[in-house]
């Protein structure tokens, strides 16, 4: 199938470019991991000495060899999913740090993204179908208003009011200090309690876009001749709204949903930061502030590759949803 072949080649080329840029980018950043480690020591008010600098350089093992040999070693490691050890803690492989954080982000952000999309889109269908009526105005206005809050600000507000003042939910973290992550009910319940506020923040601030996008698509689709034709044929209102109008209006939001879903693995740096949520976003933030190159590279790579794969899958899915692209 020439369409699929074309998309596959495109995918592979972009993947190679992304992997290469990911190699180059951290090397173009100013500063070194040794400086970052020393900055951490200096910020506690301790005097940094030459001996400390030397010891840390030795512990971290600064990159050696030519850029090309580093590049091929890097490609080899990427293929084997080996990302080296973290500079922040030279005894911990990067992949372990990510493995610890990924479930948190996948569950929280993943759930919220799907929830936002499904509910947002359904509300959008409703608003579009009842365009100009009270429910349309209410939905559009309220979700746009909530969506206008920057997520970290909404997060801080919710944290202060519900966790600090009312004490309904914990002050942050993924679970109560001292518990060991496991799959028993006590732990899951505890984790769920810690996830409510971040989830609320993400859903409140993220739903507006879906509602508005779907509503507008619905309205333009409802103007199409085939919708009028379907109505004229006496089909049930719900059938017309969902099977004829919504299915076609769904195509553009579905593309962005694919991309949003891919972005889930990157976590939400700001929201996770506000709630000290132990996910990938917080790892990414700490990695950047500590100049932890191996960790950063692994994270960026995972994020880009997931995004590329998601785009590829959405492209392929389009073939099923929209017969026009098959040609």
């Amino acid at each position: 199938m020439p369409y699929a072949l074309r998309k596959t080649i495109q995918f592979l080329l972009t993947l190679w470019a992304a992997v290469t840029v990911n190699f180059l980018l951290p090397r173009l950043m100013p500063g070194s991991p040794t400086d970052a480690a020393l900055a951490k020591i200096a910020s506690t008010g301790q005097v940094v000495t030459d001996a400390q600098r030397r010891a840390i350089e030795l512990q971290l093992g600064s990159p050696s060899g030519s850029v090309f040999s580093q590049y091929f070693a890097y490609l080899n490691n990427v293929v084997h999913l080996q990302f080296g050890v973290s500079y922040t803690d030279p005894t911990q492989p990067v992949i372990d740090t990510i493995r610890q954080a990924l479930p948190w982000t996948l569950v929280l952000i993943g759930f919220c993204t799907i929830f936002q999309f499904v509910i947002g889109t359904l509300l959008g269908v409703l608003a579009g179908w009842r365009r100009g009526r009270g429910i349309d105005t209410t939905l559009t206005l309220s979700t746009t208003f909530a969506g206008a809050f920057p997520p970290f600000w909404a997060g801080l507000l919710l944290l202060y009011v519900f966790a600090f003042k009312f004490r309904w939910w914990p002050l942050g973290g993924g679970y109560t200090d001292g518990l060991t992550p496991s799959l028993n009910l006590t732990f899951l319940g505890d984790a769920a309690a810690h996830s409510i506020l971040p989830a609320l923040t993400l859903v409140i601030t993220g739903m507006g876009g879906w509602v508005l996008g779907m509503r507008n698509n619905m309205i333009s689709t409802l103007g199409e001749d085939y919708v009028t034709f379907a109505e004229a044929n006496g089909l049930r209102t719900r059938t017309v709204a969902l099977r004829y109008a919504a299915r076609n209006a769904l195509l553009p939001p579905l593309t962005s949903f694919g991309l949003t879903l891919a972005a889930v693995v990157g976590g939400s740096v700001l929201v996770e930061g506000v709630f000290s949520y132990p996910g990938v976003g917080l790892v990414l933030y700490r990695a950047v502030s500590n100049r932890d190159y191996p960790l950063m590279q692994a994270l960026f790579l995972i994020i880009t590759v997931t995004t590329l794969v998601a785009i590829y899958l959405v492209d392929m899915l389009y073939v099923r949803l929209d017969p026009r692209v098959r040609r």
Binding site: P30, G31, D35, A37, A39, I41, A42, T44, G45, V47, V48, T49, D50, A51, Q52, R54, A55, I56, L58, Q59, T88, D89, P90, T91, Q92, T97, Q100, A101, I114, V118, I119, L122, L159, Y160, A163, W169, P170, G172, G174, D177, G178, L179, T180, A192, A193, I196, A199, T239, L242, R243, R247, G273, V274, F275, S276, G279, L282, R286, R291, L321
Partner: protein
Amino acid sequence: MFTRKSLVRVVALAAGLATAAACTATPPTSSGVATSSGGTAAAGSAGSGGAALVVQGDNGNPALVRNFNPYLVANNLRGNFLLYEPLEVVSPIDGTYSPALATGNTRPSSSEVDFTLRTGVKWSDGTGFSAADVTFTFDLLKKYPALDAKGVWTNISSVKATGDKVSITLKAANVPFMDVIAQTPIVSKSIWEKVADPTKYNDPNPVGTGPYVLDAFTPSQYTMKKNPTYWQAAKVAANEVKFPMGTTNDALSITDGKFDWAYSFLPQVEQTFVAPDKAHRTYWFPPGGTITLYLNLSKKPYSNVDFRKGISESLDRTQIAKKAVNGYLDAASSSGLILPNLEKWLDPSLANRGIVTQDNAAATASFTKAGFKMQGGQLVDASGKQAAMTIMVPNGFTDWQQAAQEVQQELAKAGIKVTIDNPQYAQYTSATQSGSFDAAFGGYGGTGNPYTDFNNALNSKLTAKIGTATTNNFQRFSDPAADSALAGLAAATDEAGQKTATDALQQIMFNQVPAVLMYYGGSWGLFTSKDYTGWPSKADPYTLPTPYNNSLWTVLTHIKAA
């Protein structure tokens, strides 16, 4: 395919998930909060020492890594200071020695120190501690320079043990360096000799001689319990210590009362921290270092001592401290000693304890001597060009930033055009270390040892040519008189000799202004005395309130159950 049915199913599923999350969430929420915030209060059986002591812990990444290797300085967990003990602990306030694994030391000469080891000490695995462990530790640091972060082997030449005495010989006369030797954490030979590569070893089940042993480790908290065979077990009040991971919103947890001992700068500490529980909450913010304006001495006009004096006399240090640290701390003494910590070494001939106050007339006189004059509100040199400087302050150091803005305004009144530059820390270090800067904020002192403080700032051997990086003395001060005073202080074994040399160094610091010392940076100790009392305070300053160094050991062998 999105048929109507499947859409309905998806909605039902989503709604179901949401309710499920909400249902399971509600009951554990209340208990979750109760255990996390009320943990200290709940177990308050007073007098027994049964309540767990909660100390604000290290930052996670974002989870804690189980790494108790005491030599990997970049990621040292605080609990290490309760596990591994040094020969002696040196006070970060005034350098007083507290015996630990050694009962004391003698100094046969200014390049030799002999430690007498304590007998009857046991490692937490039951084996006996001996001199072999000490020699093994120092050999380990020699073999693996990556572990020798304090540069022990750049200063010592040999370590010998005879019976319970360990004799260490230094390469040159250096009495102050004996502090570093004394504070080297000692590890067990029988355990560490089996470690293949100690530079990559994460020491997950540490065996130490200290007051506590590791009890439980989770990604967000570790717990230590009292070591029953500890050599001074009677002095250890708390049976259990918890270190919950430091998080991005710890300020809320602190005001919420989560910790017995926290370390954080809080604005308006009386209202935010003390007021909710006046009976139990205290704070102590002693000086921990000096925030300093470093001028590049290899550049004109900063190479001119009168110009530097003019700058120093133009500054209202109290006002700067007010802006930067809420007035919790005050102007620094320009003697180079941190007061009142090192008061006993202060040269009495220095007026006002060496604290320079703002004096515009004196500043004008100094600037005139340096060849500058005021012209239309501008301080101009002989060619009529206005004096200008760029002050570097690392990005994100908000307290320094506040101070820099005040300095900018005050120097503007003196006719100097000041620009503030906020590079990332990495750029700031490379610029200051290689000498490509006009002026830069930086820390001075705070080691508790006058020699180390002066040496880092004044020793001409520590400086480097412009373009070559140096960590210490980056303002590039060089004076034979200072070098000889430093050598004298390093070699002095008696207090009279030390006093003479320290006086000379204070005079140099005060009169030559190698760095413009401005105000004291604080150590931000926040305490709750509900379960334990005897925290370090202004009235009882036995150590600094810093939980990230040996003070942790000192405090936890000092506090009593309430």
